[in-house]
């Protein structure tokens, strides 16, 4: 009897894992798929993509500062793995956090400001190296706690409008909000050139924007909360190809 119960529980478990697999892998859509052909062309054609301004800036910074230790081929897949665990800090860090730690530890320089052209440029350049590679969050067990905190945040209601991320981006993805299609919120193309910003921004800027939209006090740039959310989103989008630098409306 007990064995049957265990068996049933196990098969229920497997079924739910399979459902989740179907839900998260087979039917996943990048925000790219919901854009108009004109904006898709802007992203697809490098000569039309305004992110090239930041990308070229990032390349220059890389050649000046980073090339003394790294080659671009060696760093090709780096953007697929972040956030990753930093042993010295004893906690997960984002890709932009890693760039700044590298500057402080190895170049003895001040960290670059969040969303500055220079930091976004480097992050864009690294993301571009990984373009087409699948998002591959590390299996590092030290990341598990933060990742599950990220999932909790994703499902928690925020702000005066009392909305969770999941209510829009899981439950209502594909439906329309004020003329725009609600995306599944897969972070495939960050940093992105967003027409609404008339410039580039990071995933954290986007997350903060979402929080303001539901009338919540946004978590700070580089906060553990935003890092945890990034980790959960990366896990949720694992295997989807990187599109950096993406265009979004």
């Amino acid at each position: 009897m007990r064995r049957v119960a265990t068996g049933l529980a196990l098969s229920a478990c497997l079924a739910s894992a399979a459902a989740q697999f179907i839900g998260t892998t087979l039917q996943r859509r990048s925000g790219f798929d919901d854009m108009s052909p004109a904006l898709q062309a802007m992203q697809r054609d490098d000569t039309q993509n305004p992110a090239w301004l930041w990308l070229k800036g990032g390349e220059k910074t890389f050649d000046a500062d980073c090339a003394r230790c790294h080659t671009n081929t060696q760093l090709r897949s780096v953007a697929t793995r972040y956030p990753a665990f930093d042993s010295l800090l004893g906690k997960p860090v984002t890709l932009s956090g890693r760039i700044n730690l590298c500057r402080q530890r190895h170049l003895q320089r001040e960290p670059l400001a969040a969303e500055s052209d220079e930091l976004i440029g480097l992050e864009t350049w690294l993301g571009w190296q990984a373009r087409g590679l699948p998002i591959a969050p590390p299996a590092d067990p030290r990341l598990a706690a933060a990742r599950s905190k990220g999932e909790n945040l994703y499902r928690s209601k925020f702000g005066q409008l009392d909305f969770s991320c999941a209510q829009c981006h899981d439950d209502n993805a594909g439906r329309r909000l004020a003329g725009s299609t609600i995306t599944q919120a897969h972070p495939t193309g960050y940093p992105i050139y967003r027409l609404e910003w008339q410039g580039m921004g990071s995933l954290q800027r986007r997350l903060r924007g979402c929080m303001s939209a539901v009338r919540a006090e946004p978590f700070g740039f580089g906060s553990d909360e935003l890092t945890a959310l990034e980790m959960f989103l990366a896990q949720r989008a694992a295997g989807m190809p990187i599109e950096t630098p993406a265009i979004r409306p």
Partner: protein, 150 residues
């Protein structure tokens, strides 16, 4: 019970309304006519030879790709001198004026423009013989959700 979706919609409407109030009066048909006359110098405007490529449904008016091509051999004897782009309902009617010559080899230019709202966009080409040709396209701009401060 207050429906959250309705509340969000109302918030969006209020935000969008606020934006509209801040927006200055849009260009008038008179001001569009004035800049067009400035461009043509009074030459009659003919339809044809110019093709304005622009999406007829635009999800964000902040950067709308446009391409304007003109049927012209671009020779010394027969070429496009200027291509102009005008709009009907932005605060200002002018968008851009491009200057070409036979060295271009092909009479085609492209850029990205801003559209404050649904309206007519006008492309005009002036040939070296002074003739003026036009193509007008009606564009629908869907309001983006202006609820984000970020």
């Amino acid at each position: 019970m207050t429906n959250r979706r309705q509340l969000l919609r109302q918030t969006v409407a209020v935000a969008a309304g606020g934006m509209l109030l801040l927006r200055p009066a849009s260009a008038t048909p008179e001001s569009l006519q004035k800049v067009i006359t400035g461009f043509t110098g009074g030459a009659p405007i003919r339809t044809g030879r110019v093709k304005l490529q622009i999406a007829e449904l635009v999800e964000n008016g902040n950067a709308v790709p446009v391409t304007i091509s003109v049927d012209s051999p671009m020779t010394a004897a027969d070429h496009v001198r200027r291509i102009a782009l005008f709009n009907q309902r932005n605060p200002q009617s002018d968008v851009a004026v491009f200057e070409l010559s036979p060295v271009n080899g092909r009479a085609e230019v492209g850029t990205r423009i801003r559209l404050a709202t649904s309206q007519t966009v006008v492309a005009m080409a002036q040939m070296n013989d002074g003739s003026v040709w036009q193509h007008r396209v009606d564009v629908i701009v869907t309001l983006a959700a202006c609820i984000e401060g970020g």
